[in-house]
Subunit: 326 residues, 2 copies
């Protein structure tokens, strides 16, 4: 068998490595879990299901060269981001990620060290959060891309969802927003898994992660919940990078890739801010607005000195022509 | 909101449709299941977990233009194949697929009718097998690609695996092999889900699906199980397309994309062939060889008049240079 030769240190690029050779290089990197009965290497993976008191949580997210990263970026940060984006979705529901599968495509000319770096970055974050990589596929592509699929669990009926905002709720955002590409935060953000789980246990039932920009996420919440949301622009937490932008508020609302949590909590939970600060001293939390009233179809307004004005949904649409007005 | 306009009939291509517009077009196509508490449209999907008497089964498979189909192919067949390949993996374990997520990438210039056709073909097969499409992502890409993730269940400890072949077992293959690209079977094959579940209930514990060619699959079984396998070339079921090839046996062993099942059953199960024929009169089943003896690292030989010769592993390696000797 040529497998050992294929996988040897002399291999210079992804194409010469061979699929089995590449997979065999990866396997030692892949973190495990005791609930995995059959990991990567068979037709499917087998794991212990969540308990009957839980729901099974499923999510897939792509990471594509030119859209989410450049080929000149550090491969470890690329691989880390591919998984971190999915974990951010789990965070937004207060769910626990457990198992991941990764489809990895790259041009045959990709240096092996680059491909190794991508998987090392991904595996390191997986280990950190107790996620087992239990399968996937490697293939040739015109560009580098990763498709990460993650499964996990959340206590039944407790998931934070987009359609659970109620009139009277207070709107919150974690962290600081805007300029994520400029600052590198789009690579290095820490998925708010601990914060999401804490909020879920606290009884919060409506949340979303800020991937396309706060404006866009508020619209998602408003539409799914059928409510009118009011955002206080003075309360939006601006990142240092957003403050350096020509229009800091526009940057904070529209840049996207913040991977913070936006959520709605009952106004009756008066100690939420202080309790959160005690639990997560390193994670800012800001009350940024209110849910006002039922509104079929949803509506988001920006509060101002002269009253409320409609908030444009300036989030990023992956198909919209560059710079097109929405 | 511009969503209705985006999704209108006047949209001519994928790029002008917008991501939300495209997703809203798709939603009515997506089959559901009563165990889905939250489908596509939130950060993650929520479904009822398999029972404690089951294991959770996870699999991801890519389908990429130029590798698995051509842009000139019927889009319904492309979409169908994207899911069918994953279902074939579930079939090989005797598992039941339940929920799928689909990442769909296409160039912005892709006609909407083509993109619609892909998803219609996928959704039709999903409905046929009771699989709910509970999420996914649409994005721009240089080529059309689909990454399908599927989760399901199998009774605990009963999954058919690659590492369960025992010396003395008889080797079987369903259907007829070879020439799948020439005949179009690589698109139109029916995933052997019913046959796989039947074999599992029968007590079969070692199987694989024939995606890269029977030679390659036998090597996978041999390596994973640490056994020496002997293949009887005269017993290999040749498809009509393979019979028309210059070397029918080579076509049957190496063409790949047959999506049949290869499995090992105890020789003591003397009525397997007749009982299978009664249960599946439309599915040929052939005894093609035997597992001979333990062999660390695995070995596969071809039986001949002058004794046994090593069987080359001529399966398709997605990274191997075209035509390269293996």
């Amino acid at each position: 068998m040529g497998e050992v030769g294929h996988a040897g240190a002399a291999a210079a690029d992804f194409g010469s490595l061979g699929e089995r050779g590449f997979v065999s290089r990866l396997r030692p990197l892949l973190p495990g879990r005791t609930d995995v009965s059959l990991g990567a290497g068979d037709d499917c993976a087998l794991v212990a299901p969540p308990s009957p008191a839980e729901e099974l949580v499923l999510k897939a997210d792509p990471l594509v060269e030119g859209r989410h990263f450049l080929s000149s970026d550090d491969p470890r940060r690329i691989g880390r981001k591919a998984l971190a984006r999915v974990l951010s979705d789990f965070a937004s529901m207060g769910a626990e990620p457990r198992w991941a599968l990764v489809d990895f495509a790259a041009p045959p000319s990709t240096p092996v060290a680059f491909a190794d770096g991508i998987l090392e970055g991904l595996a390191a974050l997986a280990r950190r959060h107790g996620v087992a990589v239990v399968g996937g596929d490697t293939s040739r592509g015109d560009a580098v891309s990763l498709h990460v699929f993650c499964a996990g669990a959340v206590p039944r009926g407790e998931a934070m969802r987009r359609d659970r905002v109620r009139p009277g709720d207070v709107l919150f955002a974690t962290g600081a927003l805007g300029g994520s590409y400029a600052s590198g935060k789009h690579f290095d953000f820490e998925p708010r898994l601990a914060e999401g789980a804490w909020l879920r246990r606290r009884g919060v039932r409506a949340a979303i992660d800020v991937s396309d920009g706060l404006s866009s996420e508020l619209w998602h919440l408003a539409r799914a919940s059928g409510v009118r949301l009011a955002l206080d622009p003075a309360a939006v937490p601006l990142s240092p990078a957003a403050r350096r932008a020509s229009d800091p508020l526009a940057a904070a609302l529209g840049d996207g890739e913040d991977f913070e949590l936006a959520f709605a909590a009952p106004a009756s939970d008066a100690s939420l801010l202080s309790d959160f600060a005690a639990a997560f001293p390193g994670t800012p939390l800001s009350a940024v607005g209110r849910a006002l009233a039922p509104a079929p179809g949803g509506e988001v307004v920006l509060l101002g000195a002269s009253g409320a004005s409609p908030l444009p949904e300036t989030g990023y649409d992956h198909f919209a022509p560059a710079g097109a007005a929405r």
